[in-house]
């Protein structure tokens, strides 16, 4: 997966600077054939700039881009084989659905009968039957998105580039559409690079995630790796929800919470690993309360999530802990006292921040 030889798309030391500002600082990434890699990060982290460098709309300040072994770094956009789905879809307003999808094939000189056949197949694949003669403005948002995807996919590109493809869809459509896209992508075996700021989305459908922050690639790994073993404080708090402790010794965190940890450093505790028993300070089994790896505080806010619940526990020192658990958690009354506990194994060390 990491050897340049077998990779479909390679970003080699890619960087982009604007004067004294660095938009993208040295990105190294190799995407295997058929793999879906997400570029994930907050706005301004450089993920879109990176994607646009691959598409050819932004010239890199440094580095190379290799597609199927060919160096495409200096090729103009219309000579690269990287089908792109734009955030705004960018459908040609004066062309019908069928004409939009056919556009790329026509540019490649594909003979008319074949164009018609491939367009028809794509239309069926994306469930756009009956809409072929419609204009973009006569389509719903979800339909427009599918046309945009179809247009990029029908030309069988070496790599598919997606720029926040789901951000313009309402929440209801978003989940269904991303599952559909993943299914299509795996079925067709398309190498895909997609940009998003939604970490749940990235984790749900990617083979690997490249987490970016302020132009830097902070971690590259599978969703599980990135979630269970975040490489930096940023990744830990950006992916999933996190409680972070900074410990100067092996006994206590900076906020005075008693921890039983091997040593100093930044430690991550995921909210779902915390058990709240709701009982008063003396604990049900006579277990030591307020010993290491436990804390008592006041329940501040409780949120019911359907599949479970969240609670915010305000500790005496002023610090808040986020707890996640079964739906019954939502029955807790704000204002009452509660005790939480976790085990040593629930704590993950974050290797180091740059």
């Amino acid at each position: 997966m990491n050897s340049t030889g077998s990779a479909e798309l390679v970003l080699d030391g890619l960087a982009r600077r604007y004067g004294s500002t660095t938009a993208v600082a040295r990105v190294d990434l190799a995407v295997a054939p058929g793999e879906l890699v997400a570029l994930l990060g907050p706005s301004g982290c450089g993920k879109t700039t990176t994607l646009r460098m691959v598409a050819g709309f932004v010239e890199p300040s440094e580095g190379r881009i290799l597609l199927r072994g060919r160096d495409i770094t200096t090729l103009p956009p219309h000579r690269r084989d990287a089908g792109m789905v734009f955030q705004s879809y960018a459908l040609f307003p004066h062309l019908t659905v069928a004409e939009n999808i056919a556009f790329g094939l026509q540019r490649r000189g594909v003979p008319k009968p074949e164009v018609a056949e491939r367009v028809a197949r794509m239309v069926a694949l994306l469930q756009l039957q009956g809409l072929e003669k419609r204009l973009p403005r006569q389509l719903s948002g979800g339909q427009q998105q599918r046309v945009a995807v179809g247009r990029a996919l029908v030309i069988n590109p070496a790599v598919v580039l997606l720029d926040e493809p789901f951000s313009n869809l309402d929440a209801l459509l978003r989940e269904g559409t991303r599952i559909e896209l993943r299914r299509l992508q795996t079925e067709l075996g398309l190498t895909t690079l997609f940009v998003t700021h939604d970490q749940a989305e990235a984790m749900a459908i990617s083979d690997r995630i490249a987490v970016m922050n302020k132009g830097r690639l902070e971690q590259l790994g599978t969703p599980r790796e990135v979630y269970d073993r975040p490489a930096t404080r940023f990744v830990a708090s950006f992916i999933g929800r996190a409680n972070l402790f900074t410990a100067t010794d092996g006994r206590h965190s900076e906020d005075g919470i008693a921890l039983d940890i091997p040593g100093p450093g930044t430690w991550l505790l995921r909210p779902e690993r915390i058990a709240m028993d709701g009982a008063p300070a003396s604990g049900p089994n006579g277990a030591p309360t307020d010993g290491p790896n436990s804390a008592t505080g006041i329940v501040e806010v409780v949120c019911f999530l359907g599949t479970g619940a969240q609670a915010v526990l305000r500790l005496p020192g002023g610090r808040a802990l986020l707890v996640e658990g079964p739906a019954a958690l939502a029955d807790l009354k704000p204002g009452r006292s509660a005790t939480v506990r976790w085990t040593r194994a629930d704590l993950t060390l974050i290797p180091g921040d740059t």
Partner: protein, 247 residues
């Protein structure tokens, strides 16, 4: 109150049309009798006929050239950045804020000393361009600025060269604006009188100039007939433009 204002606004036009049907040898409103003789007289009068064709030719040429020159300049001003761009844009738009008369006088003096353009039609065309191009520019600049660039990028991504992408994808988007600019330039040239008076020649006299002279000398219904025909023409053009805009 609004009704009165409307009457004030449109009334005089009705007066002219009504007076043109009068059966009298002089202009009177309300008209006495109903006759088409003045229309027949107008259409038989060589001066008016000639003037009409001159105006048509002039307007058409000015409109087409203004569109080409103006749109090219608009593309340059919106797609590229270069030093002095804002200044050039302001300069190119400035004839619109200056009195037509001042432009006409300046050009008269200029051509007298430097006959770089032959008198008559060529001189008129070139002078009208001075206002026609800014008119086109004023329409096309915001239209070009409103274009969604990602559509052109999408076309390039799918294999169209930058030039082809512009032609295939952006140009259709510009079409309504181009049409509006063309119409505007034509109407300006067709209706214009100051520059035509100063720079036209006796042989190449646009209709407005003929009309101007006739209005001062004779108050006979022929002038009214010609005027009515022009009002009708304007009405037709406006309706055509509305129909085009709605499709």
């Amino acid at each position: 109150m609004a009704v009165l204002t409307f009457l004030y606004l449109l009334g005089p036009l009705f007066v002219i049309v009504a007076a043109s049907f009068s059966d009298t040898g002089y202009l009177t409103f309300p008209p006495q009798g109903l006759s088409l003789r003045w229309y027949r007289a107008a259409l038989a009068d060589a001066r008016y006929l000639n003037g009409f064709f001159v105006s048509l030719k002039l307007g058409g040429t000015v409109a087409a050239l203004s569109l080409l020159i103006g749109t090219a300049a608009a593309v340059a001003l919106t797609r590229f950045s270069f030093p002095g761009r804002a200044f050039i844009e302001a300069l190119f738009l400035s004839p619109l804020v200056l009195p037509g008369l001042v432009l006409a006088v300046a050009l008269t003096l200029f051509f007298a000393a430097n006959p770089v353009v032959p008198p008559g039609m060529p001189r008129l065309i070139v002078s009208h361009l001075l206002v026609g191009v800014p008119l086109v520019l004023r329409v096309m600049l915001p239209v070009l600025r409103r274009v969604d660039r990602s559509i052109e990028e999408a076309a390039q991504n799918l294999g169209a060269s930058p030039f082809l992408a512009f032609i295939l994808v952006t140009l259709p988007f510009l079409r309504p604006g181009l049409f509006a600019a063309l119409a505007l330039a034509f109407i300006f040239s067709f209706d214009e009188v100051e520059m035509a008076l100063f720079l036209g020649s006796a042989r190449d006299a646009p209709l407005t100039v003929v009309l101007y002279g006739a209005a001062q000398m004779q108050m006979d219904p022929t002038v009214a007939a010609v005027s009515s025909l022009l009002i009708l023409l304007a009405l037709l053009m406006m309706v055509a433009q509305q129909l085009y805009a709605q499709r």
